[in-house]
């Protein structure tokens, strides 16, 4: 439990609440000043934040303008009064807090409402880095790219900092007063006309609170708005099994896997665990090792398809037919509906699945139709996979709701609802086309919005209350497998934000409640020891859901594939992998993190296949107009190799202009085209426009040019020639003019398994968080000034319609004979005693010769000042910096250091304890984040080190070894496991 969390400032109060408190619970108060200091004065002081200008309405009327001017005039005086604070060291050192020594706390971060366990590094009460929690089933020590940005969003200067009444700063006391009025109104009317709009959540406490509210106000309606909801699995389960079950997959037990448009490595609450299991089953180090085989049918290119041994592109509307065909084939029925183009591989696939039997696994795409899910349930049952590779559990307890946003808008239109309290969701950005939520909301008598940002929904709201960030909150949440875990604060709320629990408590009439007692109360079943253990470990033991045994009814409960016309263009909607529905649009790390396949940053594009692009005569960046059901959107096109023809992929999350970072990004808003909560649509049209838009990508060139960069082979080829990576490769030179280095202590080295790398970008995000890597913005990215120390190169090989996709993480190679070291005129890049190729920032004068001479181009240069060094300008965003890593100024070169600060920390620890650094003790940030454990790091001088064992694998090779740079970072060639019967279809064999 965080020390800091307890030192929270008392919330602002006003006279009304104070009086109530004085009469009710007899709190002590000191002076009237305390009361006087709350409402009026404090509101103005809070309003000192210049953010007020940003909220200036697009067309301010004279009155607003005059008010703002008046405020700024009076505040101009106030700003002059603020003095620099002098910082006094602790008089009494808090226990367990050693300056310079980070503390780690377990908590849980929400991913689309499901929990993923995290360990947060905190420096003097300042959370700076997110790591995975090895004890948590959804993390298993790994994180994804989005989780890494939790610390960044915490310190986001654009976060909402104060309650707003009709868009104007107000005190929290005023807000409570308004809520008190609402409570008394609801109490009188039993909640009639009131509604709550919640977002996706699995918090048991929240669910219980909602139930309590329902009990208190029987007429109160509760709606859920989750634009990324994938309800099909649940509906299929209701249809087949009569209850809302959800499947759990065990990829570590699967021999043959078929993904029916499922991106299980990149999407879904269990993706990190699934990726771990999937990679574990495919780890080949000697010819005797076995690996699973993955077939992927995809309606848009994903990282799962890139990892597949066989990948087939299909239009989203064809997946149902394929599922029906697969189901019929396995049931021995006549196959009617499978398009002939698929029959060739369907037979081989079915045989392979049958051969695997109970070790086979078919995964339906979460966004696919109810029928696909039902058919796949049946297929898995028929194969005998149930209970082995697939298990069903009760879906983690989402709160019971009365409907979705559409139902709510309808109720508003009928006048049944006049008051809405929005908790976290941002429906005015994420509402589907054809649903005029703005109109509906404008009819409301009272709209209360609770969220992290003054977002689209906060603008028209009568009241906006800032939410506490996940790292400031007490809460609880369930993981994909039902495991419950606690969310604990790492820091007191920076802007006096409140958690959803607190707001619900307020609506329930408890005005002065903290979230902690609410959560603790819900888990009253845990005694104090168990509670502490749950906080320490990050999970509540034995809270995972038990598998339920099911039987699939033979006729699929009457579900039939929908007859899709298949005319026109299919639209496939996807959530942006980093921004999701747009909620992280203000996180610069995520905006600037290249999308795994397209490598697009700071915007989105409409993905089309090469053939479709050729038919429409469009190229990358050409604007196309996509129209569907009366709505249309202009988007820049992007040709995605391997994309199904006559299909277009549109991604959510962009097109937002609220927030200073989000406003920088480009792209279109795909919600304008989406009806209801569909994930794909048919019958769309594409009309090319004349103009083009810039689409910024960090990788311009996609082919390997015949160079042995990613060396790859099929499993069969590997078994015949285990050292296939040496095939055709000239022996690397060994002689050098320079003397050999000698390492008395450690010699750090890294091995990266290209078979395990799924290209998820978690390592890049982790590297950015760990090493204070500056985001540079879209214009600089376009000019090639981005700063990521670690990049993941993505290469295509083979035909553009069905290419093989390879990922290759490229950090600094830390060459033994480093070309950069000899050319630096000022000794700014030097070899250390433990073999690192170190960059001395304050010695660098920026000749950039090192980068010119680096064949791997892993060095990054501060072309401009990307970090602020002006202490007067310093904002909260400075808080995210890792204090153990220098912040670089302009004009100096930087690059991967193998996380030298982590090495130093462990070395100091080992020297204090008078021992050697143990193997596996030093973990680099990229290695720690990696869900598939593709990265191994350690001391090459130790015979027993894991990295030495990895490097001893026959497929170990060094990138560009013919240059005699002798890299410390080596790669394990990619091994795939294609079906030899299908090898003739122009697919991955041994390359």
């Amino acid at each position: 439990m965080s020390v800091i969390a307890e030192a929270k400032a008392p919330p602002a109060i006003d006279i009304a609440t104070l009086r109530r408190r004085l009469t009710s619970d007899g709190d002590l108060w000191r002076s009237l000043d305390e009361i006087a200091g709350t409402a009026e004065f404090r509101r103005f002081v809070e309003a000192e934040f210049p953010a007020i200008a940003e909220r200036l309405p697009a067309r301010p009327n004279r009155r607003t303008l005059l008010k703002l001017m008046g405020a700024s005039l009076s505040l101009a005086g106030l700003a002059g009064c603020s003095r620099a604070e002098s910082i006094v060291p602790y008089v009494r050192q808090p226990e367990m807090l050693i300056p310079g020594k980070p503390a780690y706390y377990a908590t849980t971060l929400s991913s689309d409402g499901f929990g993923i366990g995290a360990i947060i590094e905190s420096h003097e009460g300042r959370p700076t880095k997110v790591e995975g929690n090895p004890d948590h089933p959804a993390s298993r020590g790994a994180t994804d790219a989005v989780m890494q940005a939790a610390v960044l969003t915490l310190f986001d200067p654009d976060r909402s900092r104060m309650p707003l009444k009709d868009g104007e700063p107000a005190s929290y006391g005023d807000f409570l007063k308004a809520m008190a009025g609402l409570v008394s109104r609801w109490t009188a009317s039993q909640g009639r006309g009131g509604a709550l709009l919640v977002e996706a959540t699995t918090s048991p406490t929240l669910a219980a609170q909602l139930d309590a509210l329902r009990a208190r106000y029987p007429e109160l309606k509760i709606y859920r708005h989750d634009p990324l909801a994938t309800p099909a699995a649940g509906e299929a389960s209701h249809a087949l099994f009569g209850s809302g079950l959800t499947p759990l997959y065990h990829f570590d037990r699967a021999e043959t896997i078929l993904s029916l448009d499922a991106d299980f490595l990149g999407e879904g609450p269990g993706r990190l665990a699934y990726a771990r299991d999937f990679a574990a089953r495919r780890r080949v180090r000697s010819p005797n090792d076995r690996m699973s085989r993955l077939y992927a049918v995809e309606s848009t290119p994903t990282i799962t398809g890139a990892a597949a041994d066989h990948r087939f592109a299909a239009r989203p509307s064809e997946i149902e037919a394929l599922a029906a065909g697969l189901h019929a084939t396995l049931e021995g029925q006549a196959v009617a509906s499978v398009p002939p183009v698929y029959t060739a591989w369907m037979a081989a696939l079915v045989d392979d699945l049958k051969a695997a039997g109970r070790s086979a696994l078919v995964v339906p795409g979460a966004h696919q139709s109810v029928f696909v899910h039902a058919a796949v349930f049946a297929v898995n049952a028929r194969l005998g996979a149930l209970g082995n590779t697939v298990e069903f559990i009760e879906a983690p307890d989402a709160p019971q709701v009365d409907g979705d946003l559409e139902a709510m808008c309808e109720a508003i239109a009928h006048g049944a609802i006049d008051t809405v309290v929005v908790l976290g969701a941002n429906p005015l950005h994420t509402a589907s086309a054809g649903l005029d939520a703005r109109k509906a909301f404008s009819d409301l008598e009272l709209l209360v919005h609770h969220g992290l940002y003054r977002d689209e929904t906060a603008f028209p709201a009568h009241w906006h209350a800032p939410a506490a960030h996940a790292l400031e909150s007490w809460s609880d949440i369930r993981a994909y497998d039902g495991t419950a875990s606690l969310v604990q604060p790492l820091i007191a709320p920076l802007y006096d934000g409140k958690t959803g629990h607190e707001l619900l408590a307020v609506l329930g009439g408890q005005f002065q409640t903290d979230a902690l007692p609410l959560v603790r109360q819900h888990w009253a079943g845990l005694d104090d020891d168990a509670w502490k253990k749950a906080l320490r470990d990050g999970v509540i033991v034995n809270s995972a859901a038990r598998p339920v045994s099911v039987t699939v009814p033979p006729d699929l409960a009457g579900l039939k594939p929908a007859a899709n016309a298949g005319n026109g263009i299919d639209i496939r909607f996807v959530a942006d992998p980093w921004l999701r529905d747009g909620r992280y649009a203000n996180a610069s790390w995520l905006q600037e993190l290249p999308r795994p396949l397209t490598k697009i940053v700071w915007g989105n594009a409409a993905l089309v296949s090469p053939a479709t692009a050729e038919r429409l005569k469009i190229g990358n960046g050409d604007v196309i107009n996509v129209a569907s059901n009366g709505a249309d959107v202009d988007a820049p096109a992007w040709i995605a190799p391997g994309h199904p023809d006559e299909t277009i992929t549109l991604s959510f999350g962009f097109g937002r202009k609220v927030g200073s970072v989000a406003a920088l990004s480009e792209g279109y808003d795909a919600f304008h085209l989406r009806r209801a909560s569909e994930w794909f649509a048919t019958g769309a049209t594409i009309a090319p426009r004349k103009n083009s838009m810039r689409v910024i990508t960090t990788q311009q060139h996609q082919a390997m040019e015949g160079r042995a960069i990613v060396r790859h082979a099929s499993l069969d080829a590997f078994r015949q020639t285990p050292d296939f990576v040496r095939k055709d490769a000239p022996p690397s030179p060994t002689e050098s003019l320079y003397p050999e280095w000698h390492y008395d202590q450690e010699a750090w080295a890294m091995a990266i398994d290209l078979s395990a790398c799924i290209g998820c970008m978690a390592c890049v995000s982790a590297c950015q968080a760990e090493n204070n890597i500056a985001p540079v913005g879209p214009d600089e990215c376009e000019r090639g000034h981005e700063m990521h120390w670690l990049r993941i190169d993505r290469y295509y090989d083979g035909p553009v319609d069905a290419p093989d996709t390879f990922f290759q993480p490229v950090p600094c190679m830390h060459c033994e004979k480093a070309p950069c070291e000899v050319v630096c005129p000022v000794n700014a890049t030097v070899h250390t005693h433990d073999g690192l190729n170190a960059q001395v920032y304050n010695r660098c004068i920026g000749t950039r010769y090192c980068s010119q001479n680096c064949p791997y181009k892993v060095r990054r240069f501060n072309f401009l000042d990307h970090q602020s060094f002006d202490k007067d300008e310093a904002g909260p965003e400075q808080g995210v910096h890792n204090p153990n890593v220098s912040v670089r100024s302009r004009g100096v070169m930087e690059k991967c250091t193998y996380c030298v600060q982590r090495i130093s920390a462990k070395r100091i620890q080992a020297q204090i304890e008078n021992r050697d650094i143990a193997d596996g003790e030093v973990v680099t940030a990229c290695q720690q984040a990696c869900p598939t454990q593709a990265i191994t790091f350690g001391d090459r001088n130790r015979k027993d080190a894991r990295v030495v064992r990895e490097k001893a694998a026959p497929q170990n090779y060094a990138l560009l070894e013919e240059l005699n740079t002798r890299p410390r970072t080596t790669y394990l060639g990619k091994i795939s496991n294609p079906n030899s019967r299908l090898a003739k279809l122009g697919e991955a064999t041994d390359g």
Partner: protein
């Protein structure tokens, strides 16, 4: 040699006497009544000086990101400007030192401004490695200065060699130029009417009285300095080329570079000599001192150097293919058909195509045409340097990192600013010092028997 070709123009036209020569050359400086177009041109150059100052201020304030450089092509116009300017300086040293040692009398009337050109070109060139730096204010860290920072140059880096080579070149060029100026400064001192001018030239003349002793010492020192400067013609640009050849980047790592760079330097240097001399002789009506013979010889040297450069291009391409290195080959192909292809072909057509016109005597003696060719070669050689700098890293080992840089206003601001500053300095030089060596022309007149 002056008489080897019967129909070649004379080195010195007409008959002269000593007072006439020293009076004519000296009066440009001492009277100060320069034609209006001189000042107009100087004003235009001064505007470019202001542009340079503004660009440098902007650069220091904002950072090198304001250039078009990026990752992977982190070297850009500052390096190509540097190589280009250093090259331009070479012709001056060649004319003054090498031709002096080879006793080529025709050099006499053009060596002074050629040396000045060298000096100013080196001054311009010296700016660019500093303006190239990410933190230009720390450029002195390249010097082996014992200091408390404990930084010391890393001697394996060609940039350190480069720094030393340029510093040597600048010093020797300055000394050589100043030594050659002494007798003329004394002439100006003696002919000056106003007290300030007498003082100014008197101090600069270091007490030169023209005694036989002085002349004997002068000859020894001047020839010694010439002997010192001569290897620099070869060494400076060879060392500059090592900045490239030392790197393993495809397109940089080539043994042809040192001679190829020296030849390129001479080509661009003579182009610049012509660029200055043609307007100079016209503007100041000294066509009888700087004659068609000079122009002809410079043009011949240009085509000689140009053919070596062309050989360099061929050899670069051939060895890229012959090495069998896929990276070198791909880079060379990409140079010809990749994003920089338009520049590459422009360069070839200027440096190899247009140059061939110089085979014709009529072209060599047609001043407007020769001037146009000289400008074309100057442009072509700048492009050549730019192509060398950027194409290698833009298409190196890992295709994922391939990319190209852009050119921003700042790249051009500094380039044109430096061109303007160079010419402004040339104008000031013409105004303040004798642009044609008085005593050597007198000596030439004597030797050619053209004294009245």
């Amino acid at each position: 040699m002056a008489d080897t070709s019967a129909n070649s123009p004379v080195v010195l036209r007409g008959r002269h006497d000593f007072p006439e020569i020293s009076g004519r050359i000296g009066s440009i400086v001492l009277n100060g009544r320069l034609p209006r177009h001189f000042w107009t041109a100087f004003f235009l150059c001064f505007l470019l000086v202001l542009l340079l100052l503004y660009s440098i201020t902007y650069l220091i304030a904002v950072g090198v990101g304001a250039y078009g450089i990026n990752m992977p092509v982190v070297w850009g116009t500052m390096i190509s400007n540097f190589v280009w300017w250093i090259g331009i300086g070479h012709a001056g040293t060649l004319i003054s030192a090498v031709l002096l040692l080879l006793r080529q009398p025709w050099r006499a009337s053009i060596n002074r401004f050629a040396e000045a050109m060298t000096l100013f070109a080196v001054a311009m060139a010296g700016l660019f490695p500093i303006l190239h730096l990410g933190r230009p204010w720390f450029f002195y860290w390249l010097l082996p200065l014992p200091n408390v920072h404990m930084h010391w140059p890393q001697w394996r880096s060609p940039l350190v060699w480069d720094f030393a080579a340029i510093a040597t070149y600048a010093t020797v060029s300055l000394l050589f130029w100043y030594m050659g100026l002494l007798p003329d400064l004394a002439v100006l001192r003696d002919r000056a009417r106003s007290r300030p001018a007498q003082l100014f030239y008197g101090i600069l003349a270091l007490g030169w009285r023209g005694s036989a002793h002085h002349w004997a010492r002068y000859q020894v020192v001047y020839f010694l300095l010439a002997a010192l400067a001569t290897p620099l013609v070869v060494s400076v640009h060879s060392i500059v080329s090592l900045d490239f050849t030392f790197a393993i980047t495809p397109g940089y790592h080539s043994t042809i570079f040192p001679p190829y760079f020296v030849a390129g330097a001479l080509l661009s240097g003579f182009a610049m000599v012509l660029t200055i001399a043609i307007p100079l002789r016209w503007a100041f009506s000294v066509e009888d001192l700087i004659t068609l013979r000079h122009m002809d010889n410079a043009a011949k040297l240009m085509i000689a150097a140009g053919m070596v450069v062309a050989y360099g291009y061929v050899s670069e391409a051939f060895f890229a293919w012959y090495s069998g290195e896929p990276y070198e080959r791909a880079m060379m192909v990409q140079r010809a058909i990749g994003p920089y292809a338009p520049m590459f072909w422009t360069m070839l057509s200027l440096n190899c195509g247009v140059l061939q016109l110089l085979w014709f005597t009529r072209v060599r003696r047609n001043m407007p045409l020769l001037f146009a060719i000289a400008i074309a070669i100057n442009v072509g050689m700048w492009i050549e340097r730019y192509i060398i700098v950027v194409t290698g890293p833009s298409r190196d080992y890992l295709p994922s990192a391939w990319g190209q840089q852009s050119l921003t206003w700042l790249d051009f601001g500094i380039l044109f600013g430096s061109v303007g500053t160079f010419f402004a300095l040339v104008f000031l030089f013409i105004r303040i010092l004798p642009a044609i060596t008085i005593f050597e022309v007198e000596e030439l007149a004597e030797e050619e028997g053209k004294l009245k």
